[in-house]
Symmetry: C2
Subunit: 197 residues, 2 copies
């Protein structure tokens, strides 16, 4: 099939995006071509702008366009509570719960299958953050998988040495879930973690 | 949830794209932020470029960046065969079959439910194209739905007046389909259109 070169170039670029296949790329490209000039320009500018202006907050690692970030400068937050997350998107999810502490985003890959070594995890800035004082509890909010488990234990051992209480997110039934279809490990954790009614 | 303003702006822009929901928009935005600067710039430029340089071919209506388009200037095509399609994306699909005639893309909405009037369909340029001579057969390649059927009949009556043979795409079983699950109208058309083995 022969397409106009700029249209083919746009489709090729869209194809690089995650979970965009050839048909979606073509549909998106056609949609963009039908947009008013100004709206297409806005889309292009928002890409350049986000790339240029957004960076990880040097204090907590959350994505920001000001330094320190909105969360770090928020005076109404609990300074004694520090939540450790693997990625910025995890913080976005936790923020939606109304969690009111501070964050520390690792922004580092740790995947045993990919051969990552736990000793390569840079914990220095985390230790410094805790050493600066004020933090009484660190909540480990790492993904509930093998990698998250290994990394959680490693971080817990390091943080405990600094005399700070370490907690982790609870395992259990997802709200709206179905006991019948819950895997046995999750169900076991839910029974172990049962609470008084 | 509070996001850095340029990141929120990017997500808002991506949300306007078809079949991109809030989660996809966030995932795409995060992906774009992690791209190398040059690749993000290429993506933005391809949007601007496609909008600026691509236009419908004045002769056939296909999207092009040169006038006339690649299909219209292709000398190896059959000038006696003209395929009428509703949209550029239909031409893309027909091109993949190796169809070797010329095209005429209507590029006009016709939807009975939306209250479009068939008299509003601009057929003047189509009539002129056919009047210019050389075309012996017009293939109607409109979508096999009610709107396509109504429009096909309307166009067929107009084109027939110009003394040109009018054909339409065959109805029948989709290749790889299942007779058991084929709707009765399609199956009826497949029986009516049966061919000698």
């Amino acid at each position: 099939m022969r397409l106009a070169q700029p249209l083919q170039a746009l489709i090729d670029q869209l194809l690089k995006l995650p979970s965009i296949g050839p048909k979606s790329a073509q549909r998106l490209a056609m949609f963009i071509l039908r947009l008013p000039d100004e709206e297409a320009r806005q889309l292009a500018i928002s890409i350049i702008d986000a790339k240029k202006k957004v960076f990880p907050c040097p204090t907590c690692g959350y994505l920001t366009d000001v330094n320190p970030c909105m969360i770090c400068t928020d005076q109404r937050r609990d300074n004694t509570l520090l939540c450790i997350a693997e990625e910025v998107t995890d913080v976005m999810a936790i923020e939606r719960t109304g969690f009111n502490g501070r964050y520390f985003v690792l922004n580092q890959d740790f995947n045993l299958l990919k051969g990552n070594d736990i000793d390569d995890i840079d914990v220095k800035s985390l230790q410094e953050r805790i050493a600066n004082g004020g933090i009484k509890e660190v909540v480990l909010a790492l993904n509930p998988d093998i990698d998250g488990e290994v990394l959680s234990r490693y971080l817990a051992s390091i943080i405990a040495k600094q005399g700070v209480k370490v907690t982790r997110l609870a395992h259990g039934l997802p709200v709206g879930g179905d006991i019948e279809f819950t895997d046995e490990i999750t169900l076991k954790k839910a029974i172990e973690g049962r609470k008084e009614f």
